[in-house]
């Protein structure tokens, strides 16, 4: 479903990714963990075409992104990026709902304007999504009137309204108050259980252990360990993974 090969990324002179490889199967749930600044967010953003990368390739459902330089992205590159985005929906740490649109408008904007869906159909879909995340009473609210948890759930619904093949969650609970983390995670859990291909960057270890088919540990731009959660958490092989996990789990 998602293949990453020999991904290299530089920030100026800094060489962040030195050839990352990752293969995600259809229906698989992969959780990315690692200390802040380890590159897991950047990795997700590369897959969604929000970050340029200098070498390697990313293939999402058959669509290929080759190394894209920020200064000279060609028309073909831009088109490929847009198609990849249609395949893989993204949820951000900061929600990024459109503040000038109501909840319903936030959800139907892209289906209507990008996919060309009939407005009625889009509204129907949106309402059933809102029902699923238990927010149908907020349909006419503005994002500013919602709690952080509610906003993030709407953001998930907004991404799902595009009917993506896969979902990318970039630390979806990191800017939430602790009491709201649960409601967001349970929505994600619901999706995972339906078999949606999912990549999640998170600091929620309990959640990772619960939902992940596979855990990938990032550190300083390197993938230092990857494997099923039971193995990784119980028996990390590398020193770096051990250090990280002991700090996190203690």
């Amino acid at each position: 479903m998602i293949t990453v090969r020999e991904l290299h990324k530089y920030y100026g002179a800094q060489h962040l990714f030195k050839g990352i490889n990752l293969e995600v199967q259809k229906g698989e749930v992969v959780v990315l963990i690692g200390p802040s600044g380890s590159g897991k967010s950047t990795f997700l953003r590369c897959i969604n075409g929000l970050e340029y990368f200098q070498k390697g390739e990313i293939i999402v459902d058959g669509i290929e992104l080759h190394s894209i330089n920020r200064l000279t992205p060609g028309k073909k590159d831009m088109e490929a990026i847009r198609n990849v985005r249609l395949k893989a929906g993204m949820v951000f740490q900061q929600f990024n709902l459109f503040p000038h649109m109501r909840v319903l408008e936030n959800i139907i904007e892209a289906p209507v304007r990008v996919l060309g869906l009939e407005k009625n159909t889009a509204v129907e879909n949106a309402l059933s999504l809102l029902k699923r995340i238990n927010l149908e009473m907020k349909v006419h609210s503005y994002p500013g009137e919602l709690s952080g948890g509610e906003q993030q759930r709407v953001a998930i619904a907004r991404a799902l309204a595009m009917k993506p093949e896969a979902m990318l969650f970039d630390e979806p609970t990191s800017s939430l108050d602790p009491e709201m983390v649960g409601e967001v995670l349970s929505v994600i859990k619901g999706l995972v259980n339906e078999g949606l291909t999912t990549l999640i960057a998170t600091h929620e270890m309990g959640f990772a252990r619960e939902v992940a088919d596979r855990v990938v540990i990032f550190d300083k731009g390197d993938v230092i360990e990857t494997g099923p959660p039971d193995e990784i958490f119980a028996n990390p092989k590398t020193e770096r993974a051990k250090t990280f996990l002991s700090r996190i789990l203690s």
Partner: protein, 498 residues
Amino acid sequence: MKRLLRILSLVTGLAILIYWATPSQFTESSIEKIKNRGYLLWGSDAEGGAPYVFPAPEEPSKLIGFEVDLAEAIARELGVKARQSQNAWDSLIPALERGDFDIAMNGLEITPQREKEILFSIPYYIYTEQLVVKKDEAVINDTTQLKGKKVGTLSGAVAQDILENLGGVDIKIYSGQAEPYEDLALGRLDAVLLDLPIAAYYGKPNPKLKYAGPPVGEGFYGIALRKEDGELKKEVDRILLKLLQTGELKQIYEKWDLWNETQEKLFLNLNKSISYTSIEESRKAPVYTFFPMLLKGAGLTIFISFVSMALAITLGLSLTIIRLYGKPPLSSLSTAYIELYRGTPLLIQLYILYYGLPNIGISLSPLVAAFLGLGMNYAAYEAEIYRAGIMSVPKGQMEAALSLGMTQNLALRRVILPQALRVATPGITNDFIALFKDSSLVSVIAMVELTKTYNILAASTLRFFELGLIVAFLYFVMSYPLSLLARRLEEKLKGSKK
């Protein structure tokens, strides 16, 4: 915002319609054109124009003056009506050449330099220069005693040449006719040398001033016509001769107290009878008589402001988007435009548009030049406001829109700009209020809007103070609702955001 844009675009449409509806001016000869049109368009400057052409003290919406009478007589002989076209005196000749009116008649002295550019009719008046001094002046009796004295005159007038030839005179140049006499009465000048008609209207009636010595110099006023209008010139000459022979011309001069022996060189008959519209009368006219003219000026001010703002908003938005999202050569061009327009005076831009472009064969109507001048200038300021607005939208908004598969254009239109405009609204409104006031600058390109109306009225009545207060009040009354509207918009937008 949407409604405002809709109104603006409607006004723009109307303006374009009016512009295109004005008849084009080729094919027919000038005389045919005038006859078909039904009126003779004559160019002159009513600002400080007494007694040549100026607003009637008792009815300021009506122009009077000896040249008004003369223009009406000429038009009558042509079988049409006369219509005055307001134009700054300095630029009457270029405006005539660009075809803004059929003839120019406004105390234009027949000089060899001018004859190189345009045709002159036979003279219709012999002017002399009259020295005016303070009533209690003891030293200066005539022009030979002006060495080291402060003497006022008009820019570009023949009197200026005479003073320069005298040598050693401290010449003070004025652009209005009333001001030098005011300054003389106040003691800021020692004397004023100007054409006799001007002295007769502004100097003689003033109890603090008197004539000094006999008129000096001598020259002819002629009606100016375009080089290619030889036929029209013949017709105008014929009419002037007729008016001269029937004595009608003389009657006009007598009516305005402009008759003197010098004119005998033009005329054979001589009768004395004097009636004079004194400047004192205009000082007494009730202030409401000025309202129709002022309101008309205000109307034009509003019209120009709205159309220019519509242009500024559209152009400014395009400039910003090109600057922020365009490819390198275009984006730097846009930046260059903004810097260039912000870094040069609007006044110069207007002059170049209106008086400069004809040099390279592009002639804009005053209205279009006003729209373009103000609109293109304010577009640069608008662009900066939009840019600040766009920068204030968090980066995540664009990323979220893109991650939903939107193109950059769609994201801009639906996500970024609506939020940016919200931030920019106060700035846009402030700009609009500023543009509103800056619209007074277009008076230099022959638009008689509110400020120009004020100049004309104040210069002919010398009621600078009360008219100034009224005009300031009018500007305030027009701009204050804009501030209120801006506040309401801001609150409304804030409400929807919470």
